[in-house]
C-alpha cells in the first residue's frame, strides 16, 4: 500500500511542475491550474487513506470535518469575491498556508525532542510560517485600505534586523540546548508573528504585490521544511518549487517596476520621501483645467485615435463594463481605440488585463507598455481612467521623486490628455502628478462609472 502512496506523491509532484509550467503561457494556463489541483487532490486523499498505522475513527471524522469546512469556505469566498478584491484574497490564502505550517511546528516540537536537526527544521518552519501568516494579514489590510499609510518606527531597518537576529538566536538556543519548553516555544511563535508585522508595516501599499509574492515563497519554504521533517516527498517538492518559483517571480515583479528587492523592503519609499513630496508638490506650478462629459465626448468623437489608460480607480468604481461600452461606441464611430496596460497598473501585475478580460475587451486591444509608448505622439486623445503614478512624468524627470526610474506610459506625448479621477488626491505612491497640470490636460472629475456613463450617453447623442 505504501508503494501506492509513493507513486501518488510522485504523480502529484509532476503535476505541480507541469501545472506551474503551463501557468506561464496564456493558452495553457487554465489547464495547468486544473492539473496541479488534481495532483493536490490525489495527494491529500492518498495521505488520509494510505496511512501505515491504525487510526481511531474519531480522528478521521475530525479530519473530514476540517477539510469539509475549509473546502466550503474556500470555495465560496473564492467564487463570490469581486474581481477587484482578488489580490487581497491571494494574500489571505497565503497567510492561511503559513499559519497551517506554523501550527504543525507548534504541535510537533514536543514529539521530536532530542533530535536536534528535526527541532531546527520544526523551529524554522514555525518562524517562517508565522512571519508569512502575520505578514500576509498586514498586506491584506494594506491592500483593502484598512492600513493605508506605511507605518515606520524610527530606525525601523535596524530595529527589524536586530529583532530578527534575536529571534533566530533564540530559536538556535532552544534547539542547541534541547530545551523542551512550551513557554519558550510560544514566546518564539509570538515573536515570529510580531516580526511578520514589523516586516510588512513599513512597506508602502504600492509594493504589496511584491511583498505578497515574497511571502508566498516563504510559505513554500515552510511547507518544504515540513516535508523535510516527515520525509514527505510531495510536501518537499511542492514547497521547494513554490519557494524557488516564487522568489524568481518576486524578482520579475521588481524588474517590471524597475525597483530592486532591497529598495522595496528597506524602503526607497522611505522617510526621506515625505519631505521630497512636499517639495515636489510645491514645485508644481500651473492650473488644472476641469472639463465636462460633453466636451470630452466632442473631443473623442472627432479623434482618429484614442488610447485608454486604465488604473486602479477603474477597478474600484467597477467601471470595466462601461469603459468597454465606450470603446465599442468609439469604434463604431470609426475611432481607433487601444488600451495601454502598464505592467503594475492596479494592485497587481496583470490586474487590468484580468479586469478588462472580464468584460470581453478583445485581447489585441490591450497593448503592453513597451509597444504602446511609441504610439502616443500620434494619438489624439489619451483617456486616463483612475490611473495616476503609472503616467507620472516625475518618473522620467525628477530624480528626487520616489518613483524616479520607474518606466511609465508616456501619456504626455499625446495631443490631448483627459484624466478621470475622483479628486486631486495623490495616487498610491502618495506623490503629486505634474501631468494633471499640463497645458494639454483636462480633468474630468467624478467616480469612473458615473463619469463614463455620462460620457457614453453624450456620445450616443452625437
Amino acid at each position: 500500500m505504501e508503494f501506492i502512496l509513493t507513486l501518488i506523491y510522485l504523480v502529484a509532484s509532476i503535476t505541480y511542475i507541469l501545472g506551474l509550467k503551463m501557468l506561464g503561457h496564456p493558452k495553457t494556463a487554465r489547464k495547468g491550474n486544473l492539473i496541479a489541483a488534481f495532483g493536490m487532490g490525489i495527494a491529500i486523499i492518498g495521505t488520509i487513506f494510505i496511512y501505515p498505522k491504525e487510526v481511531p475513527m474519531m480522528i478521521y471524522v475530525l479530519i473530514g470535518i476540517a477539510i469539509l469546512i475549509g473546502t466550503i469556505i474556500g470555495w465560496l469566498v473564492a467564487k463570490k469575491v469581486a474581481m477587484t478584491k482578488m489580490p487581497e484574497l491571494v494574500s489571505i490564502f497565503n497567510g492561511m498556508g503559513g499559519a497551517s505550517a506554523a501550527l504543525i511546528g507548534l504541535i510537533e516540537f514536543h514529539h521530536y525532542q532530542g533530535q536536534t536537526l528535526s527541532i531546527v527544521t520544526i523551529l524554522a518552519g514555525l518562524i517562517i510560517g508565522s512571519i508569512s501568516f502575520s505578514g500576509s494579514m498586514i498586506a491584506w489590510g494594506k491592500l483593502n485600505g484598512t492600513i493605508n499609510k506605511p507605518i515606520r518606527i524610527p530606525k525601523y531597518n535596524i530595529i527589524n534586523n536586530l529583532f530578527f537576529i534575536v529571534l533566530v538566536a533564540f530559536a538556535g538556543f532552544i534547539a542547541y540546548q534541547g530545551i523542551d519548553s512550551q513557554l519558550y516555544l510560544y514566546v518564539l511563535f509570538v515573536g515570529a508573528l510580531a516580526y511578520g508585522v514589523l516586516f510588512v508595516l513599513p512597506i508602502g501599499g504600492a509594493d504589496m504585490p511584491v511583498v505578497i509574492s515574497l511571502l508566498n515563497s516563504f510559505t513554500g519554504l515552510a511547507a518544504a521544511l515540513g516535508g523535510f521533517l516527515y520525509g514527505n516527498m510531495v510536501m518537499l517538492t511542492g514547497g521547494i518549487l513554490v519557494g524557488s518559483a516564487g522568489t524568481i517571480l518576486t524578482f520579475a515583479m521588481c524588474d517590471a517596476m524597475n525597483r530592486s528587492l532591497s529598495s522595496v523592503i528597506f524602503g526607497a519609499f522611505g522617510a526621506t520621501t515625505s519631505t521630497a513630496t512636499d517639495e515636489a508638490s510645491r514645485k508644481i506650478k500651473g492650473n488644472i483645467k476641469e472639463t465636462t462629459p460633453s466636451d470630452v465626448a466632442i473631443l473623442m468623437n472627432y479623434a482618429n485615435k484614442v488610447i485608454i489608460i486604465p488604473g486602479y480607480g477603474l477597478a474600484v468604481a467597477q467601471a470595466q463594463h462601461i469603459i468597454h461600452e465606450l470603446e465599442e461606441l468609439l469604434i463604431k464611430k470609426g475611432v481607433e481605440v487601444k488600451y495601454a496596460i502598464h505592467p503594475v497598473a492596479g494592485r497587481m501585475p496583470g490586474h487590468m488585463n484580468v479586469l478588462l478580460a472580464e468584460t470581453n475587451v478583445s485581447y489585441d486591444r490591450l497593448i503592453e507598455m513597451e509597444d504602446i509608448n511609441p504610439e502616443f505622439p500620434n494619438t489624439d486623445v489619451v483617456f486616463v481612467v483612475g490611473a495616476n503614478d503609472v503616467v507620472n512624468p516625475a518618473a522620467h524627470n525628477d530624480p528626487s521623486s520616489p518613483i524616479y526610474g520607474m518606466p511609465i506610459l508616456e501619456a504626455e506625448n499625446a495631443k490631448y490628455i483627459v484624466v478621470n479621477k475622483r479628486s486631486m488626491k495623490p495616487g498610491y505612491a502618495g506623490i503629486e502628478n505634474e501631468l494633471f497640470y499640463n497645458q494639454k490636460t483636462s480633468m474630468l472629475f467624478g467616480d469612473a462609472k458615473d463619469a463614463l456613463g455620462k460620457l457614453v450617453s453624450e456620445l450616443k447623442n452625437m
Binding site: 479530519i63 467564487k79 490564502f93 497565503n94 497551517s100 511547507a223 523535510f228 518549487l241 519557494g243
Partner: protein, 102 residues
C-alpha cells in the same frame, strides 16, 4: 561535524531533490509575460497549500486524548484546505476571464 555528515548521508536523496527542484522552479518561471504574474502567483500560492498534507499527518499521528494537538491540528487542516481550495478556485476564476475572448 560527524552529526552533519550523518545527516547528509541519511538525507542525500532529499538534498538532491531540493537542489534540483530549486532549478526546476527557476527554469519554469523563466520568461513569463507580466500579464500572467498574478495568476501564476495565485497558482503557486495554491500549490504551497500542500502543507495541508503535513497537517493531516499530524492529526493521523496524534494520540486520541491529546486535545491540544488535535485541536491545533484541526485548525491546521482547515486553514491548509482553505489555502488549497481557495487558491485553485480563485486562480481558475482569474484565468477563466482570459479565456473567454479566444
Amino acid at each position: 561535524m560527524t552529526e552533519l555528515i550523518e545527516f547528509i548521508t541519511a538525507n542525500l536523496q532529499m538534498i538532491y531533490i531540493v537542489i534540483l527542484m530549486i532549478f526546476v522552479g527557476v527554469e519554469i518561471i523563466g520568461h513569463v509575460p507580466a500579464v500572467l504574474h498574478t495568476p501564476l502567483m495565485s497558482g503557486a500560492n495554491a500549490i504551497h497549500g500542500v502543507v495541508v498534507v503535513g497537517a493531516i499527518l499530524v492529526m493521523l499521528g496524534s494520540e486520541p486524548d491529546n486535545i491540544l494537538a488535535l485541536s491545533l491540528g484541526f485548525v491546521a487542516v482547515l486553514l491548509g484546505t482553505l489555502n488549497v481550495v481557495g487558491g485553485f478556485v480563485v486562480t481558475d476564476r482569474m484565468l477563466e476571464m482570459f479565456k473567454k475572448k479566444k
